[in-house]
C-alpha cells in the first residue's frame, strides 16, 4: 500500500526554524538524511521532498479558458504544506509509525492518506 504523508508547518514551526543557528539547522537536516537512508534501506520511501517557503506559492486558476496566476500565500491559512513523503508500507500502522518519527513531527501537523491503487477484492463484481 502506498501512503502520502503530508507535513504541514505553522507560523510557530516556521519561526522556530528561522530562529535556529546554522548548527541546529544542519543537525535538523542531518536527522532527515539519516531518516531517509533508513527508509531507503527498508524500501519504504518512494520519494520525499521538502517544499520551498509558502511565500513562493503561486496559485493557478483556470476559469472559462482563462488562466490567471496569483501570488500566495493566503494569509488566512495558518498551516502550510512544508513537505511530503510517498511511502510504500505493508500496513497503515507502519505508515503511521513512520509519520510519527518524521524529524519535524513535534512541531508540525502530519497527515497520512492512503493512495488509490488498482487492486481490489477479487469477489467484488457481485
Amino acid at each position: 500500500m502506498k501512503y502520502l504523508v503530508l507535513i504541514y508547518g505553522n507560523p510557530a514551526s516556521r519561526s522556530a526554524w528561522a530562529g535556529m543557528s546554522d548548527e541546529q539547522k544542519a543537525a535538523g537536516l542531518r536527522a532527515y538524511v539519516e531518516f531517509n537512508e533508513e527508509l531507503d534501506a527498508s524500501g519504504e520511501r518512494i520519494v520525499s521532498e521538502r517544499l520551498a517557503a509558502p511565500e513562493l506559492t503561486k496559485q493557478v486558476i483556470v476559469r472559462e479558458d482563462r488562466v490567471s496566476t496569483t501570488d500566495g500565500p493566503f494569509a488566512e491559512i495558518k498551516e502550510q504544506l512544508a513537505g511530503a513523503y510517498l511511502l510504500e508500507c505493508d500496513t497503515e500502522e507502519r505508515a503511521l509509525e513512520i509519520a510519527a518519527r518524521i524529524p519535524e513531527a513535534p512541531y508540525a501537523t502530519i497527515e497520512v492518506r492512503p493512495v488509490m491503487g488498482l487492486t481490489g477484492d477479487v469477489g467484488f463484481e457481485l
Binding site: E88, M116, G117, L118, F124, E125
Partner: protein, 407 residues
C-alpha cells in the same frame, strides 16, 4: 518464446548454483544478471543448444565477479572451486524449485518481500518488471529484494522439516494468491505494460501442483485461479468497466480453463482434507457451470459458504455468504443477518448492503450505500464499478434477475 523459457529455467538455475556454491544472496543476483544477458543475446544469436547449461555457466561466471568485488578476503580460498560451473543436473530440479519457493516465502520476511522475491527468484521476472507490475519505482523493489535476501542469508538451502512444511506451504499459497489477485483486479485496463501477474501466478501454481500433486489446497488454489481467470474475457466491458457476474456474456468464458478447474477441484475434494482454497474453488465452479445466472445453484453455494465459514471464518466470508443467502431465502433475510452483525466499518459491508437493498427494490437506499462504499474503497477500478452501480440505481433500473439479452 524465449521469455517463457527463461522464466521456466530461472528457479532451476538458482537451485543449481545455490547447491553448488551456497550463498543464495549472490547466486540469485548472478542468475538475475544471466537472465538479463540471455534476454539480450538469445533473440540476436539464437537460443543455445542447452539453454540451462548456458545460464548456469554464465551465472557462475557472473557470481565469481560479483563475489570478487564483494569480498576479496575469501577469494583465494574459494577461487578454484568457484571456477568450474556446476553440472546442469546435479539433483532433480523439481526439489530445488520447491525449496526455493519455501525459502522465498520464509516467515522472517514481510508479505510484500515474499512476493517480490518469489517473482524474481522463482518466477524469473526482472526487478524492473516487478516494479512495473506493482506500480512502484524499481529501486523500491530492488531494496525490498536485497533486504529480503539479507534476512534469509543464514537459512539452509534444503526442505524444512516435515512438521514445518504445512505452514510453510500455506505461506507460499498466500503469496501466489496475492500475485493472482493483484493481476486479476488490475486487469480492468488501468495499467498498460504490466506483466501478466495472473498468468504468472497460474504458472507458479501449476509448478507447485506438479511438485505436490496430492496436496488438496495446492490443487484447490490452482483450480480457484483457473475458474476465476476463466471469466476474465467477459469481466471487462466497453471502456474497461467491470461487468457483474450476473450480467456477463457466459459464452465468452474460457471453457477449457473451467473444465480443468472443475476437474482439479472435484479430484481434490474427493481425495484430500477439505480446505479454504478448495471450497472457494468449488464456489467458483458452481458459478462457472451455470448456463445462465438464473440457473445458478445458490443452495449449493450457500452450503459451501457455510462450510467455508467453519474452516476459515472471516468478515469477507461472512459478507459474501449473505449474498448467497439472499438468493436462497430472499434479501430480507440477508439484510436481517447483516444488521445483526457487529459493524465492521469495512466498506465491503456497505457494498453488500447496497447489493441487498438493490435486490429488495430499495434503489434509493442501494444508491446511498454504493456511493458510500465508492468513497471509501482504495481501489480505482472498484470505485468506478461502484459509482456505475450507484448511477444505475438513480436511473431506476433494477438489478436484473435474468441473464440480460445482449443488445
Amino acid at each position: 518464446m524465449i521469455e517463457g523459457l527463461l522464466r521456466e529455467l530461472a528457479p532451476q538455475v538458482v537451485g543449481a548454483l545455490v547447491r553448488r556454491y551456497g550463498g543464495f544472496d549472490t547466486c540469485e543476483d548472478a542468475v538475475q544478471e544471466a537472465l538479463l544477458a540471455a534476454a539480450v543475446q538469445w533473440p540476436r544469436d539464437g537460443v543455445p543448444d542447452n539453454p540451462k547449461a548456458w545460464l548456469i555457466t554464465t551465472a557462475s561466471r557472473r557470481r565469481i565477479e560479483l563475489w570478487r568485488s564483494d569480498s576479496a578476503r575469501l577469494r583465494r580460498e574459494e577461487a578454484v572451486f568457484a571456477l568450474a560451473p556446476p553440472d546442469p543436473d546435479p539433483v532433480p530440479a523439481v526439489d530445488d524449485t520447491l525449496t526455493l519457493l519455501l525459502l522465498c516465502c520464509h516467515p522472517a520476511l514481510t508479505r510484500p518481500s515474499q512476493v517480490a522475491l518469489t517473482l524474481r527468484a522463482v518466477g524469473g521476472l526482472t526487478t524492473a518488471e516487478i516494479a512495473r507490475a506493482y506500480l512502484v519505482p524499481e529501486p523500491t523493489i530492488g531494496q525490498r529484494i536485497s533486504r529480503a535476501k539479507q534476512r534469509v542469508k543464514g537459512t539452509a538451502f534444503s526442505l524444512p522439516p516435515p512438521d514445518e512444511r504445512p505452514s510453510r506451504i500455506a505461506a507460499v499459497l498466500q503469496v501466489l494468491y496475492l500475485v493472482f489477485t493483484e493481476g486479476h483486479t488490475a486487469s480492468a485496463g488501468a495499467a498498460v505494460g504490466r506483466v501478466e501477474l495472473t498468468a504468472e501466478a497460474i504458472r507458479l501454481a501449476r509448478q507447485l501442483h506438479a511438485l505436490l500433486p496430492d496436496d488438496g489446497e495446492v490443487t484447490g488454489l490452482l483450480a480457484l485461479m483457473l475458474l476465476t481467470d476463466a471469466r476474465r474475457p467477459a469481466r471487462v466491458g466497453p471502456g474497461g468497466t467491470t461487468v457483474p457476474l450476473a450480467e456477463q456474456d457466459r459464452s465468452r468464458w474460457d471453457s477449457g480453463a473451467i473444465a480443468e478447474g472443475v476437474s482439479l477441484v472435484t479430484h481434490a475434494l474427493a481425495t484430500a482434507p477439505v480446505g479454504p482454497y478448495q471450497l472457494q474453488a468449488a464456489i467458483a465452479a458452481v458459478h462457472d457451470e451455470a448456463p445462465t445466472a438464473a440457473e445458478t445453484d445458490w443452495p449449493q453455494i450457500l452450503l459451501l459458504y457455510d462450510l467455508l465459514r467453519q474452516v476459515a471464518p472471516g468478515p469477507m466470508v461472512t459478507l459474501n455468504r449473505l449474498v448467497a443467502l439472499a438468493e436462497v431465502e430472499g434479501p430480507a433475510a440477508a439484510l436481517a443477518e447483516l444488521d445483526a452483525l457487529e459493524p465492521s466499518g469495512h466498506y465491503r459491508a456497505d457494498v453488500v448492503r447496497a447489493h441487498l437493498l438493490e435486490r429488495s427494490g430499495d434503489l434509493a437506499g442501494a444508491r446511498e450505500y454504493y456511493t458510500k462504499a465508492a468513497q471509501r474503497t482504495l481501489s480505482a477500478p472498484e470505485q468506478g464499478y461502484l459509482e456505475s452501480r450507484a448511477l444505475r440505481c438513480l436511473s431506476g433500473k433494477p438489478l436484473l434477475k435474468e441473464d440480460p439479452t445482449p443488445d
